[in-house]
Amino acid sequence: MSATDLTRLNAAEMATLLASREISSVELTRAHLARITQVDGIVHAFLQTLPEVALREAQTADADRAAGEQLPTLAGVPIAVKDVLATKGLRTTCGSRILENWVPAYDATVVRKLREARLPVLGKTNMDEFAMGSSTEHSAYGPTLNPWDTKRVPGGSGGGSAAAVGAFEAPLALGSDTGGSIRQPAALTGTVGVKPTYGGVSRYGLVAMASSLDQVGPCARTVLDAALLHEVIGGHDPKDQTSLDAPVPPVVAAARQGLSGDVRGLRVGVVAELGGRGYQRGVLDRFEEALASLEGLGMSVREVSCPSFKFALPAYYLIMPSEASSNLARFDAMRYGIRVAPAEGPVTVETVMAATRAAGFGDEVKRRIMLGTYALSAGYYDAYYGSAQKVRTLVQRDFENAWEDVDVLISPTTPTTAFPLGDKLDDPLAMYIQDVATIPVNLAGIPGISVPGGLAEDGLPVGVQILAPARADAYLYQVGGALEAALHEKWGGPLLDQAPALETTTQEGGAL
C-alpha cells in the first residue's frame, strides 16, 4: 500500500491492519509525517510536529506487537493533540504568545491515556488563543485554513485538529469543546467531532478556559473512529473531581449497532429554536435530508420546543468569560511563560504582570477577561453571573422536558458553512453567533456529536448535530453511525472523498 493510501484509511482499518501486522506503526506514522510535510505548509493545522517522539512510540509499539504482546485496539495509530493539552516535556502554547516557551512538567490525563494506549503523537494542533474563537484566526501563530477551501476558516477553536483530520494529516485528533470548539470545526471541515457528557473525560491537564463548560473529546473522520478514541480517553480520574465516577458508556458497540442500521424505535426530536431564520438555505436542506434518512431507518420524528435557548448565547457569554477571567489570571509572568518588563516607570510585580499580560494576550482573550472581570464585580455579580446561572438552569430544564418525549435531539451544527478568512474578525458578535446551536449543550453538560450531512449549495460541508441526555453518549454513536451509513450509501462513499485535492508542497511546514 502506498503512503498516500495509508493516510486515507480510517483509524479502525489501520488498527486491523496493525493487529494483523500487515502494516507497521512506523510505516503508518512516517506516511502521516510525510503527508504533514506535503500539505501543512498550506493548511497550517500543526503548531509543532514531533517526528522523533512519534516514531519512537511507533517503533516500540511495533516491537512489542512483534514480540507477541497483546496491545490495545488503537496501538500504533497516530494521533494529533490540540495544543491546549499539557504534554510532558513538549511545548504547550494554547495558541498564545504568553505561553510560547512553556514546557509542561506533566501530562494531561488524556495524553497519559494516549501513551498507555500506545498512540504515537504526531504533534500539537493549532487553535484560537486559549480556545477562544470560532475560526482559529485568533491563534497567535497564524490561522489554520480549511482543507475544502483554503480561503476559508476551518472553524474554531479546534480548527487545527479538525483540519488535520480532514486533510488526512492524522486519522484522529483530540479537541476540547467549551461552546462548540470540537463540533463546529467538524461541521466546517466535513469531519466527525464529539463533545462527551461533562465529566465523561478528565479535564486534568486541559488548560482551562471555562471549567464548568470545558470538555475534551475526539475528532475523527468516521463515527466508529470517534467511538474508538472516546473509549481510550473516557473514564473517571481522581485528579478531576468533576469527572464522573462511572464506566465509559458502550460507545463502540453503539456505533457498530448504528452502522448496521439499527435505530428502530428510537425517537428523535427536532429543536424548533435551532433552525429557520439566520440559517443558510443549503444547511437547512441537508439537515432536512438527514432527518428523512433517519426517519427512513424507522426513527420517529417530532418537533420539540426549547424556549430558553434564545437566552443561551448571552448567558454563555457571561459564564464563560467570568470563569475564563479567573482561569487566565495565573498567566502573570511569575512562574512560567514569557516575562515582559514595563516600557517605562518602575519595575514592580504589578507593572511586570500588567506589561506581560498586555503583550502576551491577544485582543479576543483580553476582551473576554474584561467581560468576565466586569460580570463578577461586586454590585454586578447578581445581575450578570447570577442571572446567567439562572438561564443555565432553564436551558437544562428545557432539555429535561425534551427527554420526556424523545431519546435524541437533532439540529444543524452551525448556521452556515465555512466563512471566508477575515470575514468576522472585526465583528465579535457575528463570530459568537456561529456557536448558537452548540452552546446550549455545554450549558447543560449533555453530550453532542457533529457528523457530515453533505455539501451545501456553495459546495462546502454541512454538519448535523445529534444530542443525547447526560451519560447517554452511546445514543450519539448509535444514531450518528446510522446516519453516516445511510449517507455514505447515498453518496457512494465518505463526504471527504469529494474534497478537492490540496496543492502539495515539499517545504517543511507547520513547525513553529
Binding site: 486534568y204 468533576t242 467570568s322 470563569e323 479567573s326 495565573r330 463578577l376
Partner: protein
Amino acid sequence: MNVSDLAPFDQAIAEFDPVMGIEVHVELNTRTKMFCSCVTAFGAPPNSQVCPVCLGLPGAMPAVNHQAVASAIRLGLALNCRIAERCTFARKNYFYPDVSKDYQISQYEDPIDRDGFLDVELADGTVFRVAIERAHMEEDAAKNTHVGSASGRIQGADYSLVDYNRGGVPLIEIVTKPIEGAGARAGEVARAYVAAIRELVIALGISDARMDQGSLRADVNLSLRPRVADPVAQSAVPFGKRSETKNVNSLRAIEKSVRHEIRRQAALLAAGLPVTQETRHWHEDSESTSPGRSKEQAEDYRYFPEPDLLPIEPSRAWVEELRLTLPELPAARRSRLQAEWGFTDLEMRDAVNAGALDLIGASVVAGASPAGARKWWMGELARTANERGVELAQLPVAPADIASLERLIASGRISDKLARQVLEGVLAGEGPPEDVVAARGLAVVSDDAVLLAAIDQALAAQPDVAQKIRDGKVAAAGAIVGAVMKATRGQADAARVRELILKQLG
C-alpha cells in the same frame, strides 16, 4: 495631633465601648495539602514540596483532602456549630505572587461550620461566651521573603523570594460574631479566646497551633463606639470604623495590641478625628501598630463558586461518626479534674493560669497525690520557673520526679525540709530524687540509738531546759529538738526526736 498619641486606657474605656471581631487562621496538621498530595512538613528547603496543582500550573486541578474536611467538621462540632449538609468552595481572585493561581480557593457563601460558640474562662474565673459566626476551609498562601530591606517588609526590598511549600496547606479560618460587652477586659478576652482556640485544636489533634511558626494566626478587628450607661442601649449604638491588626504572633501580644488599638482609636475620636478603616501591623519591639493597606480602597475579590470542585456534602452518619472521635474538650476536662482532685476554684484557676494542669495531672498519674503535686508545682517549682524566666514545663523536672519525691517523704526517708534540698538537686541536674538523696547523703537519720545519743548530749548541754520539760513544760522541748536537728545536719525526723525527748524525760 500626632497620630502616635494614645489616650490613657481608663479614660478610653470610660468614654468608649470597644467591639471586637477575631479571625483565627489554624493551619491543619494533615500529612498532605488541601488540594494535592504534597506533604506539609514545616522547615523543608524552599519549593521542595510542590507539584503542578499547588504551583497552579496551567491545566492542573484541585482535589479535596478528605482528612482536612474531617478536621473542619470535628472543629465545628467542638465549637458547637451547625455542620453544613452541603457547602461549596469559592474562588477569591486577586493578583499576588503568593497565590500561584492568582486566586485562593476558599469558602464564601456557605462555610462548612456555622453559628457556634466557645465559652472562654478569664483569669479570675469569669466565663465569657464568644459567639462563632463561621469556620471555613481554605488553602494557605505561599511565603514571601523580601530581601534587602531593613525591616524584612516589601518597602525598600531589592527582590522577593516565594516559597510555595506553604502554598496549599489546609487552613481553617474561624470568625467570631462581634464581641461586645468586654469593656476594659477586651484585651484579656481576646487573649483568652485565642488561647482557648489554641487549646481546643491541640486537644482535637488537628493542628500544632504554633503561633511562632505561624500555624495559628489571629487578626483582631476592633472599633470603638460612644459609651452609654445602660447596657441594653449600649448594644444598640452602631459600631464605629474598625481597624484590623495583623502580625500578632503571641498570646501576650494579642492582649497588648488590643489595649493599644483602644488607646489609639480613643485618642483620634476624642480629638474629633476619624478612625480609618484599614489593616494595621503590630510591632512587637515598639508595642505599637502601623497602617498597612487601606480597606477603603479594598480589592474586589470577585468571589464565585469554584467550578473545578463539587460541593461537599458530609452525610449525617459521617458527622455523627466524627462526633464520637471528639476527645474530652479542655473545659470539660478541667471540671472533671477539679472534682477528682478536690481543688478549690481558686486553686484550679491558679494551676491553669500557671500552665501547671498537665504537669499536675501527669504527676498524679505517676503516683503523686493531687494536693502534693499541686504544692510542689505551684510552690517551689513555680518560684524557680519564675526566677529563671521559663515556663514550668521547661524546668528539668519530670512529673515522675514529683511522685518519687512524695514517696520518699511518705516512707520517712526524707523530711519535708530535706525534700526541698532534693528538689534543688534535681533542678541542678543531679538526676532523679533517689539519686540526689544518695549522692548528697540526705536520708533521714532513723536510727533511734544515734538520735538518743544526740538527745542526751543536748540535754546535758542545756540542763535548765531539761528541767522545764520535766516540770511539764512540753513546749520547751523545741529547743532540744533544734539542737538535735543541728547536730544531725537536719537529717533527723523532728517529730520522732520530740517523741524520744519526751519519752527520755518521762
